[in-house]
Amino acid sequence: MTRIAFALVIAASAASAQVSFDRILHAGQEPQNWLSYSGGVESQRYSALNEIKSGNVKDLELKWVFQARSTEKFEATALVVDGILYTVQAPNDVVAIDATTGRVFWIYSYVPSTEARPCCGRVNRGLAILGNTLFMATIDAHLIALDAKTGQAIWDTEIAKPEAGYAMTLAPLVVKDKVIIGTAGGEYGIRGFIAAYDAQTGKEAWRFYTIPGPGEPGNQTWAGDSWKHGGASVWMTGSYDPDLNLTYWGIGNPGPDWNGDNRAGDNLYSDCVVALDADTGKLKWYFQFTPHDEFDYDAVQVPVLAQMDWQGRQRKVMLWGNRNGFFYVLDRTSGQFLQGKPFTKVNWATGLDERGRPMRAPGMTPSQEGTRIYPGPVGGTNWYSPSYSPHTGLFYIPTWDGYSAPYVKRKDEYKEGQLYFGGNANSPVPALRGLQFNNRNEEDGFGVIRAMDPKSGEKKWEFKMTEMTDSGILTTASDLLFTGNREGYFLALDARDGTLLWKVLLGSHVSSGPMSYSVGGKQYVTVAAGSSLFAFALR
């Protein structure tokens, strides 16, 4: 930890208060704070704050910037507790910041093992908090608890071996007295799992393997021994329904990614959402979006929970814009499929049957010579948080449209700690931004914010962009929608109709989810772009 100034630490301590789980559960009642990755256990990424509205959003101005001591992507969404903002500077430094000035109180510097090998960047998406303890999952697969007042480590639990490809990039989820995480490493032939740890001690409470072992239901959906290295990673934060005591998690792709020859079967629970008992980790139900995936369509989107009138009766639903290009509505009590329609160009399936299972299009499978598949490997969307506004009733998806790649398969053998792709899928659009802006071709695809009506599954409006977007979405009670894009813009749209209300160029691509908080009645909106975190408020 770097102590900046003792007095500041004291000031920080004085201001912070215990974050009970009850506060996390009812985060909507204290919108001045942002207590979990998605702003609430329903993961709607919706803020009840309304000081900033369509009539004054043009008066937003930059209040402070935190520049990370890292050139890695800044993917974290900050937490804010009573005026103190906590975030992660890549790869795994926790930073406590005065939410009104940007002044740093302390930095906890963690040096990950050199064996860490996250597939797609040394990144972290944020923290969880319970009481006065912060929790961070690291890229070398450790879960670390820190004192939120001082930034000093309380416990450090090794979750898995980084040399075998295990990594963690997600923000943990706190449920009751437990901290729940999942492991990334789907491109390294891991066997993924979700696990809960005692928040006080760091001791494992339960573990759910995302690939069933021999004798367990679902193991037969993997041919031979393919289950051992089938991936099914977890790298985005789950959600929680307190009434049902279920925690929901999206599961990653089966491995090897682009060659399913040695893993005949549906490959459960890859590309599923699983509903687990939050106390025991026992599987209550699952729904598989992409059985026997050969396209890297991880179902790692944040599960968004909503309550709505569904065909005449109130229903607990789950909204899911999936990487495979379909927008789903599920009943989250039972996992029943209610509706699913494409929200972007799709050619690998002709549609979904009455149970939500995709109807595969003939010939649309990776091949030696390459088969052009829509959407390409990044998907119709990816990890970027969607948002649901209970005020507009719309679900907003950061979308890649018209985007494809030729999927080539090849034989691959598992070797511990080495990439296990089984082919390639090289799109002219890079998964990570790198091209000049004058090289872009519209026929290679484009980014678009799509506002979907969950009741019809149809698009209500869209906001099209020249470049792709890697940004999450925030909506507010004043019907604003904040998002960003690869071009480096941070945007405010009217959540009702998509009208552009405000924009600012932040100089580098936005690959994080915006969030909002307030201090002393003044509302702030933050987003990370490039390697910096920007905070805006009305002038």
């Binding site: 802006f437 004058n438 071709n441 894009n485 071009e487």
Partner: protein
């Protein structure tokens, strides 16, 4: 290429003309012997030892073929150049190889000089293109064209400019809401704006919300030089452009 280098070439060519011609077999054998006996210190292009540039005929202690053979076989006392076990006949093949490379370099240099002359003179290329800070801005800057384009592609762009237009060299045509038409080479564009260089070389920045039309031109503004340059002129021009590999 500056005047000084022209003078050097002239002197150099004169010196080479005084040398004998070499048999292809000897050049080939010398090439192989050079690779196994000399390259380790002198490098593949003969310039790795300070003060000597073997492939351009630059030697500190020898002028004639005989003197070179003597150095190859006997080395240079009190220097890092050791004596070798090569016979005088073998050493002569190495000399043949070095002389051959030098002659090619001179021929290449002459071609480049002619190509540059076409570029700056008859071709009128500087009107649109810029090289090392000199020339127009409406076409792509060619200062490092040789580092990322193959000669065949460069030649095709000269005789058939529409055959392939790189994405970064596209021409945009924009029509504003008040009816003004603006064309230019694309520099950058995003969701909200477009930046281009207009035919007068001016930077133009447009707000897309003020545009009625925006489209890429299907034709390159570059004229075709097919039939306008003699084949030797075209070859020299391509050689010159291929030699441009940055500042």
């Amino acid at each position: 290429m500056g005047m000084l280098r022209f003078v050097l070439f002239a002197v150099f060519v004169g010196a080479l003309c005084a040398q004998q011609s070499y048999r292809p077999d000897d050049v080939k054998a010398g090439s192989e012997l050079y690779a196994t006996n000399c390259m380790n210190c002198h490098g593949p292009d003969g310039e790795a030892v300070s003060g000597a540039d073997l492939m351009l005929g630059k030697f500190r202690r020898a002028a004639s073929d005989g003197e070179l053979v003597g150095i190859i076989t006997g080395g240079i006392p009190a220097t890092a150049m050791p004596p070798s076990s090569l016979s005088a006949t073998q050493a002569r093949t190495i000399v043949a190889y070095l002389r051959s490379r030098a002659a090619s370099a001179v021929a290449d240099a002459a071609s480049l000089a002619r190509g540059r002359s076409v570029f700056e003179g008859k071709g009128g290329c500087l009107g649109c293109h810029r090289v090392r800070g000199t020339g127009g801005l409406t076409g792509p800057d060619l200062t490092s064209i040789g580092s990322f384009r193959k000669p065949a592609d460069v030649e095709r762009s000269i005789v058939d400019p529409n055959a392939e237009i790189l994405d970064e060299n596209r021409t945009l045509r924009a029509v504003t809401k008040d009816g003004a038409t603006i064309t230019g080479r694309l520099l950058s564009y995003d969701t909200f704006g477009v930046q281009l260089v207009d035919p007068k070389g001016r930077l133009v920045s447009l707000d897309r919300s003020n545009l009625r039309e925006l489209a890429f031109a299907k034709q390159s503004p570059m004229p075709s030089y097919r039939g306008k340059l003699a084949s030797m002129e075209l070859a020299d021009l391509v050689a010159y452009l291929a030699s441009l590999k940055g500042i």
